[in-house]
């Protein structure tokens, strides 16, 4: 008999406790949230203890698992070629409210407004003329979680514009004879896909030959029609832009890149919003190839990051075309840092040939101890300065 009572208690006690728990008595904030509208199904059907532990947890907010693991218990994990960073980092709660929301898909705000929590609205919708899809919402062209195509586009980037704009009409309007070569990359060399202060969503500034309507400087013309490029590869750009010093530098960006003319990996031959004739903001261009640097800067693990690096001001420290210094620094490492950190230059650990790093027998510099791109330790230290840093080189004698 005793055994039967114990078995019954064992089976039903959790349910009894569950049924009698009223979390909302102490969590009135959540009670208010539930009034907003759509309630998350597990919460509606099973209650708080589906995701939270009532007693203790290693996770914030007493979650039973990490946010990512919890969400993917029910929602299919996103495995795509290009995945939105909050998804990669398991930060579903950046966009979604786990309890309830008046908005679709339990979003924290209305669709486009959620995007602007991270993506600066001023920079994207930077003019009074808005592209129609951008007026609706971002998901007209972009995927929220992940997708097959770059920039989280819904369609192949080469075909995106022609989904709405007839390719034939555009080819005619732009006097282009070769339809095959006409793709979205060419559209974006003049037009901003989101907004512009100029009509036709044209970008702000122009490459000189383009501004002077001297198409024949770069293109072969058949009457008024643009036939092809005059010279293939970067030799075309070198006609006007001398890169002699860059060509003979030790490290150079001038040769590696997609397409026949690598200059066009970074620069726009027609119109641009960012000087000098850049296709996009500096950091976006750099991160196209330097994916590892991007991952580190955006990672939560490497909490301490140089503020200029966080802002995407890569060219404050690094040269864009070429350098004889490591990491494409504009000058010797110490000189680059001291440009801004003048005070720290006055009182510092000995540097250079006066202080040879015993680990590698090389003169010390700022990056012997600091990593501006992101570290786990304060002051961008590579090791914890309280207990690990100094003993890398200095042995403690006992």
């Amino acid at each position: 008999m005793k055994k039967i009572i114990l078995i019954i208690l064992y089976l039903f006690l959790p349910v009894l406790i569950y049924a009698s728990t009223d979390c909302l008595r102490c969590h009135p904030g959540v009670k208010e949230e539930l009034k907003l509208g759509r309630i998350h199904t597990p919460l509606k059907q099973k209650g708080c203890l589906v995701c939270h532990n009532a007693h203790a947890s290693n996770e914030p907010n007493l979650l039973t698992k990490s946010v990512k693991e919890l969400c993917f218990d029910c929602h299919k994990e996103v495995k795509t070629n290009y995945t939105h960073l909050p998804v990669v980092q398991g930060e579903c709660n950046k966009c979604h409210n786990a309890h309830a929301s008046p908005y679709k898909a339990l979003l924290k705000k209305q669709e486009a407004e959620v995007c602007f929590s991270c993506h600066e609205k001023k920079k994207i919708l930077s003019g009074k003329n808005l592209h129609s899809p951008a007026k609706k919402d971002c998901l007209t062209c972009h995927q929220a979680h992940g997708g097959k195509f770059q920039w989280l586009l819904n369609i192949k980037p080469e075909k995106l514009c022609f989904n709405c704009h007839s390719k034939t009409k555009m080819t005619t309007a732009h006097n282009i004879s070769n339809t095959r070569s006409f793709n979205t990359q060419i559209c974006l060399s003049c037009h901003n896909a989101h907004a512009s202060s100029k009509k036709g969503l044209l970008r702000q500034s122009a490459h000189k030959p383009y501004a002077k309507k001297q198409c024949n400087e770069c293109h072969l013309l058949q009457g008024k029609k643009i036939k092809d490029i005059k010279i293939k590869g970067r030799s075309l750009c070198l006609k006007c832009h001398s890169l002699k010093n860059d060509e003979t530098a030790l490290y150079t960006h001038l040769y590696l890149g997609y397409g026949e003319n690598v200059c066009l990996n970074c620069h726009s031959p027609h119109l641009f919003d960012e000087k000098p004739a850049l296709k996009a903001p500096v950091s976006r261009i750099c991160f196209t190839c330097h994916q590892d640097a991007k991952d580190k800067l955006l990672s939560n693990v490497y909490y301490y990051k140089h503020p200029e690096a966080k802002k995407g001001n890569c060219l404050n420290c690094h040269a864009a075309h070429s350098s004889n210094e490591p990491f494409f620094f504009k000058e010797e490492v110490v000189k680059v840092c001291v440009n801004c950190h003048k005070r720290q230059a006055q009182f510092t650990h000995p540097l250079g040939e006066k202080a040879i790093d015993p680990r590698c027998k090389k003169g010390m510099d700022c990056v012997s101890c600091h990593n501006p791109m992101g570290t786990k330790y304060k002051f961008n230290m590579i090791f914890d300065h309280r207990k690990q840093l100094c003993i890398q080189c200095h042995k403690i004698e006992t």
């Binding site: 590869g233 003979t248 001038l254 490591p326 590698c360 027998k361």
Partner: protein, 296 residues
């Protein structure tokens, strides 16, 4: 009794599985043999970029690039022999080779030229690159056993092939859609070209230049240099991850050597790797030194 048998079987399987996993990963073990630093009397290396092993003369040549010189060491004892700058002619030497006749072939990056130097007769010639259109910008280069010179043309994303001895331009190898090549490796039959942005290796038949296939390499950040062992395994140096990754013939990663750092066995933005028989030479550029490993 049954439960006991099941538990024993599980334990045995677990142990076997563990042994299998570790043996796979232990496939390529690397033991640090020595670290080559520049002698005090000649001053530290300054961003060395490449190394060449001259088996015939038992020498190792290091391209001490920012010091505008080549430095030679004894291959077996790793002792300094001499330094050479072609009487001031070398400007940012990027890499070098030595052919059967003893001619030194140097990529003189500071002039965007390739010098052919007869050290004994003190004659310096230039590889005829001006006659090749479009004009090449020389990158890394290799010599095969027959003496053919394979030179990366960085500006035009192709590999140029020159004849032995006289180094006359013969032909080019080019792949559509390559972003460029950072290094090449040669076997008896094949040429392997490393594309650092696409993180793939293009394989060609060496004699005909016929494209065979791509080998996609996963989990790399910036692969910069490449070497191949007798078994066809690829040793790929990732300059940003500061490791040498070992891949099998099919592009599956089988092990890794080193990690980011400044200590022995650690690399700080290395830029070149050379494999000779069982010895792996890593040009540890960020630490201004060369590390030599024995591969098991």
């Amino acid at each position: 009794m049954k439960i006991k048998k099941i538990l024993t079987l599980c334990f045995v399987l677990y142990v076997l599985h563990f042994v299998f996993i570790t043996s796979c990963y232990a496939f390529t073990k690397a033991k640090l043999l020595t670290i080559i630093y520049a002698e005090e009397e000649i001053g530290n290396f300054k961003q060395p970029q490449a190394i060449y092993l001259d088996e015939k003369r038992n020498k190792i040549y290091i391209a001490d690039t920012l010091n505008h010189r080549l430095v030679s060491y004894h291959k077996k004892y790793y002792k300094f022999i001499s330094q050479f700058n072609a009487e001031g002619r070398l400007k940012l030497p990027l890499c070098m080779l030595r052919d059967k006749e003893g001619l030194l072939i140097v990529n003189n990056k500071g002039e965007n030229s390739v010098l052919i130097i007869d050290v004994k007769k003190k004659i310096i010639k230039q590889l005829a690159l001006n006659d090749i259109s479009p004009k090449p910008v020389p990158g890394n280069m290799k010599l095969d056993k027959e003496g053919y010179l394979y030179l990366i043309d960085k500006a035009n994303k192709r590999i140029l092939i020159f004849s032995p001895k006289e180094y006359k331009f013969l032909k080019q190898i080019k792949t559509k859609d390559a972003t460029g090549f950072s290094d090449i490796a040669l076997t008896e039959k094949y040429l392997y070209a490393l594309d650092p942005l696409k993180k793939e290796v293009s394989i060609y038949e060496k004699n005909s230049g016929k494209f065979i296939r791509f080998l996609s390499l996963k989990n790399l950040a910036f692969p910069l240099s490449l070497a191949i062992d007798a078994g066809g395994n690829l040793y790929v140096l990732d300059a940003h991850k500061c490791k040498v990754f070992v891949f099998d013939k099919n592009g599956n990663m089988i092990s890794e050597i080193g990690r980011k750092g400044w200590k022995e066995g650690e690399f700080y933005y290395p830029r070149y790797v050379l494999l000779h028989k069982k010895q792996l030479y890593v040009v540890d550029t960020g630490n201004n030194r060369i590390q030599v490993f024995e591969i098991k």
